[in-house]
Symmetry: C2
Subunit: 396 residues, 2 copies
């Protein structure tokens, strides 16, 4: 009887507190100012909350779908299972409509501005946080593309001391986002500026300029890429808009690099120019550098390679127009081939990268391989990649 009373009391009590998060649940660092939810528990569980008094069904989609429960105040809440550490895009589904959660800042991914949540790493990790070190600047620069016939913008990180030392020239890393993202990804999600600030302060990386552009381009006069069918504008599963990428290599080599070399104090030769990218951007980095080895000497592929999503080996003697046919010459000419993968990434990424590595090995091509433990096809993997990759650059 006593037990039953306690149980009843507990049930009643839960009727009031049904889904309130405890003080242990800390607001995500990506929330809008003042928003308590979403919050994250020390074990990685997250509690979400959305006001939707007249909705029939509300879900949060963050590494899987979680049904939310409606409380007496018209707010829907759910606490997830523990989430993978790092940055996750997420969205709400309110009566069949996929939208961003108004409680967080938005981040451009999958072709639209969706929500983000950051699950902190258990140990204290601060290599990507702003610290009390000199900070570089991230600038937005506009240039006219002769290839597309349009004004475009890129983001440019100039390292600490750039303005104060007008006689110094710097090497340049061009680094690209993934499919459905844009030039803001490496700053807003990747914290590339803070990673480099911290590496430079510790003298682990040489001061360098970083350039970020959006990896989509269609040649002037060619038909514009297909518009996204309006029915998928906010469907639950969205493909990135099928925007053309075929002219991006030309934009980079013919427009961006000349613009950067004439606008910033660069060391404008292949020994001081690198290209890297993540996922689709890794594919672009591989394809573009191998087609332009007079322009680039350092290559980074983060969760993506020159064979795209293929899991088939290639013939290193003939692939990429045969640039690897003479391995000794290639290994002398290319100062770094760097490949990274998160151990929690789903296929095809592990298999594709395995096939790519095996092909390189068969051809005698040297490369560095890096694994990020426990992280997915997401930005924490790529922050770690950059943190390992950047210190190896421009050491020759």
């Amino acid at each position: 009887m006593r037990l039953m009373r306690i149980t009843v009391f507990a049930l009643l009590y839960c009727g009031f507190c049904w889904a309130q998060a405890t003080d242990e649940c800390k607001p995500s660092s990506l929330n809008i100012p003042g928003a308590k939810y979403p919050c994250v528990y020390p074990d990685g569980r997250a509690t979400f909350r959305v006001v939707a008094p007249d909705a029939q069904k509300v879900q949060v989609r963050v590494g899987g779908a979680f049904d939310m429960e409606k409380g007496p105040d018209g707010a829907w809440m759910v606490t997830t299972k523990p989430l993978v550490v790092g940055f996750h895009y997420y969205s709400l589904v309110i009566d069949g409509s996929t939208v961003a959660d108004p409680a967080t800042r938005t981040f451009f991914g999958s072709g639209w501005d969706n929500s983000g949540i950051e699950i902190p790493e258990p140990a204290e990790v601060d290599y990507y946080l702003p610290k009390d070190v000199p900070h570089g600047q991230v600038g937005t620069s506009w240039y006219h593309s002769t290839v597309t016939g349009a004004w475009r913008r890129c983001l440019v990180y100039t390292p600490p001391g750039y303005d104060a030392t007008p006689a110094v020239r710097y090497p340049v890393l061009y680094v690209q986002h993934g499919s459905g993202e844009d030039e803001t990804g490496w700053i807003e999600q990747g914290y590339a500026n803070f990673i480099l600030d911290n590496l430079i302060a510790e003298k682990k990386a040489v001061p360098m300029i970083i350039v970020m552009e959006k990896g989509y381009a269609t040649k002037l006069g060619q038909p514009a890429p297909l518009a996204q069918p309006p029915t998928v504008v906010n469907d639950a599963v969205r493909a990135a808009a099928p925007r053309g990428q075929n002219a991006f290599g030309d934009v980079l080599v013919k427009d961006v690099i000349p613009f950067v070399d004439s606008t910033f104090r660069t060391r404008a030769d292949r020994d001081h120019r690198s290209m890297a990218g993540l996922s689709m951007g890794g594919n672009q980095a591989c394809q573009i550098t191998l087609a332009n080895l007079d322009t680039f000497a350092w290559i980074g592929m983060f969760s993506g390679t020159g064979i795209g999503l293929s899991t088939q080996r290639f013939d290193p003697k003939t692939a990429f127009n045969g640039v690897m046919a003479d391995a000794t010459s290639f290994n002398r000419k290319v100062h770094l081939v760097w490949i990274g993968l998160g151990t929690a990434e789903p296929n095809p990424f592990p298999d594709s990268i395995k096939a790519f590595r095996e092909s390189l090995e068969k051809g005698g091509i040297k490369y560095v391989y890096f694994e990020s433990p426990g992280t997915a096809h997401e930005w924490l993997t790529w922050r770690r990649d950059l943190n390992d990759f950047a210190p190896r650059l421009f050491r020759k």
Copy 2:
């Protein structure tokens, strides 16, 4: 009979095309890539579309609420009445939940990332668009605030030629956003960089640096500002988060200005330093400049003044610690007092600005007054303000 048949046919036909927009409806310039909706008709009407197959009621809120109608494909649509020209924040209400429209880029206003739509001006107006002129850069700079004890960031526009002319020093305009907005507003919504690029190219404005910060700050050790109650995170009518502003003047004068003067090539004296702002930022500009006349000599108030939302006149002999008591001296010392208002702004703005102007006039204080025809308490008013204000700066 024939007429009836035509009518029936037209009704049936409308059953199929019920709310499709015609080719005259052009996608808003602020849409995500590939999104056809929202689109805007030449007369300013806009058609919105949102996929929400299981929702009971969907509205778009853009200068009023418009009920959307559900089509056979589960998408809700509505065409509004003609909207005021310029940039509008807007949101969707899906079964009582206020969210951003996933079809547009998001813009930080009212304390969250909501949607935006741009209603083009009828005549060809391009003073705020990127043109084939030299472009300045917009940089994000991080600095440590001694006042708040935290890292903060500001955006800094450096004019065309800044990097190429290392011997030249530039005057600085500090320009602030409105309540609920942040340091990105003047670039993302206001196009301040393009406005200055174009003015400088036409030699209508002197090349200048522009600095933008977020106008919220609480002193180190003081209680943090009240968190937003979670119930209003996505309520329909949101107040801006009650974040403290009381320390912003200190942050600007003690942290930002020294940082900018030591990081950029500025002309670091009052004759070459201006502050302006819109709405809440206009109040801050007035309050901060009048309290620091050794630091600033040019003042701009866009849809906001030093009396906030008050519509009461002030006594120019005693207000603002008496800095206007001697009008002759004030008029000699302050090179420009500039006040702007959109003619479609609602009260209290017109009455407040009227009271402020009358008070200045009573005290013999000179000022420039500018009206933007037909625009509201929105960004097109403030683009026009900047376009009139900036050319008057630093001419002494």
